[in-house]
């Protein structure tokens, strides 16, 4: 028995080598696209003076939720400026935004697919389990080989790690849409695409937005790991403080991550349940029919589904 060993590791190694040899060109292209995208967002955040960015982010918070969140955002960002982590924080923010955006772009359609087909759902589910539970650092190894040191392997590892809740919550949201409402669309002769666009997506929006929120939070939790492969930013600072046993630097960089996390969470969380402008949120008049979608349904943006 001692001689026997499953050569899974060798296979994975051979597989990655095979991929590198055959699709090397493809990965170079992907690398350039991701890197270009990251540079663009990073440039947009780094170039203006910090107070403009602080004001802009506070304004976003105001629009998303209200003045309290705006003030909190501004204060938090100023603390980051105060501990001299502004540039690193902006690099990290750029990485999170790029990785999250790509993860959402991939995961929402996958979630739709999983919701429409039981077969797809059964195939996708174990893959998601694998992606989410595999220790995140393991992704870094092939990512390093395929994309070389820098910000791109960090982004790729982040996307893979963060995608799962986006797919899951999209599927859940669409499957949870009242069956009768979908039937109504069919009964009046709407095409499946139209039902998806006008009924399922708008009604599943709270759940999808919760998924987006989760994607962003998981992305942020990956930045430190991404810092290990040279992604820089706050993650790079934390890794550096670890190698130097620098408690002060570690605390300041870590606190900056926490502040960014809280801001991103509150803002995206608020986007999932937007208020009706001008109207105070109040209980709808009681109806004698069970409202199958819960209170979220009434808060959906009316404009999202006009033809």
């Amino acid at each position: 028995m001692n001689d026997f060993r499953l050569p899974l590791g060798d296979w994975a190694d051979a597989f990655i080598h095979f991929i590198t040899d055959v699709f090397g060109g493809f990965f170079t292209v992907v690398r350039n696209i991701f890197a270009g995208f990251y540079d663009l967002v990073d440039f947009a955040l780094q170039t203006p003076p910090f107070w403009i960015v602080v004001l802009a982010l506070a304004a976003v918070a105001w629009l998303a939720k209200g003045w309290k969140l705006a003030v909190g955002t501004a204060v938090g960002l100023l603390v980051i400026v105060g501990v001299d982590q502004w540039d690193n924080a902006m690099s990290t923010l750029a990485l999170v935004l790029v990785a999250s955006l790509i993860a959402v772009v991939i995961s929402v359609p996958l979630g739709v697919l999983a919701a429409r087909s039981d077969v797809a759902s059964k195939v996708i589910r174990p893959i998601l389990d694998f992606m989410q539970t595999m220790p995140a650092m393991v992704y870094l190894i092939p990512a390093l080989i395929l994309f070389r040191v820098g910000v791109v392997p960090g982004i790729v590892a982040t996307i893979i790690f963060a995608m799962a809740p986006g797919v899951r919550l999209t599927e859940l949201g669409i499957r949870g849409v009242d069956k009768e409402v979908v039937e109504a669309g069919q009964a009046f002769g709407a095409s499946p695409w139209r039902i998806l666009r006008q009924i399922q997506l708008p009604l599943a929006m709270p759940s999808i937005m919760a998924g987006v929120n989760q994607v962003i939070m998981l992305s942020l939790s990956m930045v430190v790991i991404a810092g290990m492969v040279g992604a820089g930013g706050l993650g790079g600072e934390v890794v550096q403080s670890l190698t130097r046993i620098d408690v002060g630097l570690g605390f300041e960089a870590g606190l900056s991550v926490v502040i960014l996390a809280i801001i991103l969470d509150r803002v995206t969380g608020a986007l999932g349940t937007p208020r009706k402008p001008g109207a105070p949120r109040k209980q709808a008049p009681a109806t004698d029919a069970a409202e199958p979608l819960g209170p979220e349904a009434e808060r959906l943006p009316a404009a999202s589904a006009t033809a």
């Binding site: 009768e180 039937e183 009964a187 009046f188 943006p301 009316a302």
Partner: protein
Amino acid sequence: MSETPVPEAGTPALSVRRLTKFFGRKPKEALDRLRAGAGRAELAPLGTAAVIDADFDVRRGEIFVVMGLSGSGKSTLIRTLNGLLEPTDGTVTVMGETITGMSPKRLREVRRRHVSMVFQHFALLPHRSVLENAGYGLEIQGVPTAERRERAEHILERVGLGGWGDKMPSELSGGMQQRVGLARALASNTDILLMDEAFSALDPLIRKEMQEQLVELQQELGKTIVFITHDLNEAMFLGDRIAVMRDGRIVQLGTAEEILTDPADDYVAQFVQDVDRSRVLTAGNVMEAPRAVVTASAGPRAALRAMRDLQTSMVFVVGSGRRLLGVVHDRDVLRLVQRGERSLEPAISDDHPVVSADEHLSELFESAVESQLPLAVVDEQGRLLGAVPRVTLLAALGNVSSNTGEHAVIETPATIPVDVITATLHRTARPDTAIADAADANAVAAAAAEAADIRAEATRADAAGERSPA
């Protein structure tokens, strides 16, 4: 949309032939066993036979009710009618087009043009305004925005929701939400309306109101409506014809009256036991042939003789064209005869109750209580169709057969002894009136015969089910 055959005027709105829907893994095997006579329970290990061998036509312009308890397959049945579910076997034909096996694209086209649907829990789009919801069917049909708005507003007005167009569905009560659901279906302007337990989620008062409004709208717009319900009273109120479903099979198909008075089996009989018969049966259903009838021109002697022969204290008096003039009582007529009057006119009183043939029994009680006399049933022109004595009214309410043939109709008993009448007739008889008497007797017989004719005619018209605008 191009080569769709134009449906001929005579084709039924919906034709369902040997339709079976089986949910489960081996539909072929299940089908064979069903056809071999297996029941639902025997197939339980394979799956559920929701609908078994349904076979019926829905005529244009009628309200066709499918009635059954939950689990009887009625919701599955209605979903096969517009192709939301594909039948395991059998066919569905909508306005002359067989939709079974049709491509999804053409099926959508049929739904857009011919069949709309109203849902139990309303199924409104919660993120759209009432007006946008009402216009949803039109939007899918590709009607331009301005026209869509106009038509949706018009139909909202029609269902009593004028001015609510800008509200969101969640701001409306249940009854109002279902009005929006109804408006959405009506606005699509399809020939057929499928209503799946449409009023079951509403409270009783609102439900009653909606039922009345639906009948009104149907009479006005002449839509063909297939209505699903588990409430027999609702079925009886709405349905021109009712299909009773049990365990996936249609066990009886007929008018409310047929189901009530002639249930196909014990199950249906048990079911209709609790129905409020007084709200289903009408005066026309239970009325008797009016035997005690004389024409006004026949004169008092004929009337008196008729009363003597029929052992009753009153007769109905009809004028030309069988128009009901009133009743005469034996005492009054006796007085006229004794005075030698030639005309019946002075004795005619019109204080007797008159009802129309389509009034429900529940509406007859008050009149029946107020008067000793049988209720006179007349048509729109005031012609006498029949009479409803109290005993008939009571017999119809109990589970006794409403056909009162075996228990003799007891008219108000004669108040004057027969021999007194005979004596009076003899005493007042004059040679010149003897011939007139004979003529009078003929007049009475003719009046009774004519009554039978009109009644038969009315029954035929009824049976033809002329609910829709001619």
